[in-house]
């Protein structure tokens, strides 16, 4: 005989002493770090002052502009080379493979320097008899950075897009063909929109990487935010303050991008039961 009267007793939740202890330890540690920075050799008023200085804002605009342009180029090339990779044409597939192999296989810094110094190989550029310009006039820091970052990004994005395309069920393609769609229309209307669900999280990740990767362009004199901050601290020796200024802006831009990614993911999750909002975190009780 089971004594069911036990079910009448009140349920008391576990007090989780471990959770309280670890939370307290983290808060104390955080307070110590904040205190250290507040008392350290940092003039916070200078940070505030330089945060909105024209040279810094100008650098910020250049950073955001380069991120947007390089990602646009990278995603365009990525889709193109992913489709080429999956094409039945062996020449297209081999060229996609070569592109991915080359641009993933060499350091980004080296690629930037190569583009920037292209004038050493080709002093002039143009179509013989039609027009010709000097390479140094074409290959400005902006163009060299855009090509370097964009083409490098394209090689990585190609693999992400290829994975996304492969994740779409073959039946979707067959259904599209059966209602008279051409291969290209099937890709554009049916396969890519569904692949987006798989493509967006890693590309969002790379978008955020790109924001910070643009700082490497300072070596070829592209005046993005970090380079402008450096130029200022070479003059006034406020190294840490200006680095903090740059860090604040990087964090601000990344925050905006991360929010955008959330909404994009929600849009492309339509027709699926799992939404990103529900996919985060589990119940640890």
């Amino acid at each position: 005989m089971i004594d069911t009267s036990i079910l009448q007793l009140r349920v008391v939740r576990d007090r989780h002493p471990g959770r309280w202890l670890s939370a307290a330890a983290i808060l104390v540690g955080f307070a110590l770090v904040v205190r250290a920075f507040a008392m350290g050799q940092i003039e916070w008023s200078i940070v505030g002052q330089f945060l909105t200085m024209p040279a810094i804002l100008n650098g910020l605009v250049n950073t955001v502009l380069m991120t947007a342009c390089a990602m646009a180029l990278g995603i365009t090339l990525g889709v193109l080379f992913a489709v080429m990779y999956l094409s039945p044409n062996p020449v297209l597939r081999a060229s996609a493979l070569f592109y991915i192999w080359f641009f993933r296989g060499t350091p980004l810094l080296l690629q930037l320097l190569l583009w920037f110094n292209l004038a050493l190989v080709f002093p002039t550029i143009g179509l013989p008899g039609l027009f010709e310009v000097r390479m140094v006039d074409v290959m400005t820091p902006f163009v060299a950075t855009l090509l370097g970052l964009g083409m490098n990004q394209g090689a990585y994005t190609a693999e992400v897009v290829r994975g996304g395309i492969l994740s779409v069920d073959q039946g979707q393609t067959e259904a599209a063909r059966s209602i008279g769609m051409t291969g290209l229309k099937t890709l554009r209307r049916i396969v890519l929109p569904q692949a987006m669900r798989v493509i967006i999280p890693p590309v969002g990740n790379e978008f955020i990487s790109m924001v910070k990767l643009t700082s490497i362009a300072s070596v070829i004199q592209y005046s993005e935010i970090l380079r402008n901050a450096q130029t200022i601290y070479y003059a006034n020796a406020r190294v840490i303050e200006l680095l903090i200024v740059a860090a604040v802006w990087y964090l601000a831009v990344v925050t905006v991008l991360q929010t955008g990614q959330f909404f994009l993911e929600r849009h492309f999750a339509r027709g699926r039961t799992t939404t990103p909002a529900r996919a985060t975190g589990g119940d640890l009780r």
Binding site: D169, G171, Q172, E174, A175, A176, R177, S178, I179, G180, M181, T182, G183, L184, K185, R189, I190, P193, Q194, F268, R270, G271, R272, T273
Partner: protein, 254 residues
């Protein structure tokens, strides 16, 4: 009279496996043909050759007397371009075993996708027509739902509406009820029965011998890539001539 579909000497191999071995079949306009047979007998491959989802190694498929997938050029045949093949596919509509509704689109969007993006119909006109088709198969109340929110039977009926929206002259069904829970089979079969009654030409690969007996005008039995027997349902399902057919019918029918 030229048959709507004429399959002539079609052979298709996958490596060493001969999926289709010199198959010939005619389907006249308005005819409903059920193709039955054990798994791996080539039924689906045959069906997929009709709308060029598979390309025969030898032989060919003629629709209304026109060879599919090739154009004559002097003394040679040239394979058609992607766009030309897409245009030829408009003759037929296909319903798949696993429905294959576009998962990122609502029911209504699924049905108007072809009419709008391929046939270049106006959106309002396409939607009006789509709603008529959806109510014909009894899922008009689900127009704004996504496929994942529907039962298998509802999805398959939407898939039928999607195919019909292209106004095909021929409908191909590839085991349309095999992926369904038993209690949902009836609603799909009844939609197909209505379609057959309306005079649509249909080729149905199926395991539903009851449906074949009741709706099909002809039953084709396939085994190992060949058509073994072809005749009216009463003959094939009740008094099969070939021992292989007899064996299959005995195993399937209780």
């Amino acid at each position: 009279m030229i048959p709507m579909v004429a399959i002539r000497s079609v052979t298709k191999s996958y490596g060493a496996l001969k999926a289709l071995d010199d198959v010939n079949l005619d389907v006249a306009a308005g005819e409903v043909v059920a193709v039955i047979g054990p798994s791996g007998s080539g039924k689906s491959t045959l069906l997929r050759c009709i709308n060029q989802l598979e390309i025969p190694d030898q032989g060919g498929v003629f629709i209304d007397g026109t060879l599919q997938g090739y154009r004559r050029q002097g003394d040679t045949l040239r394979a058609l371009q992607d766009a030309e093949i897409a245009r030829q596919r408009l003759a037929s509509g296909m319903v798949f075993q696993r429905f294959n509704l576009f998962t990122h689109m609502t029911v209504l969007q699924n049905v108007i996708e072809g009419p709008v993006s391929v046939l270049r119909l106006g959106r309002t006109e396409a939607e009006l027509e789509a709603m008529t088709l959806l109510s014909r198969v009894g899922v008009d109340d689900k127009a704004t739902a996504y496929p994942i929110q529907l039962s298998g039977g509802q999805q398959q009926r939407v898939a039928i509406a999607r195919a019909l929206a292209m106004r095909p002259r021929l409908m191909l069904f590839d085991e349309p009820t095999s992926a369904l829970d038993p209690e949902l089979v009836g609603e799909v079969l009844s939609a197909m029965r209505d379609l057959a009654t309306s005079g649509m030409t249909m080729v149905v690969v199926t395991h539903e011998l009851g449906f074949a007996r009741e709706v099909a005008g002809r039953v084709v039995f396939m085994d190992r890539g060949r058509i073994v027997e072809d005749g009216p349902p009463s003959q094939i399902l009740t008094t099969p001539q070939h021992p292989r057919t007899r064996e299959f019918i005995a195993a399937v029918l209780p």
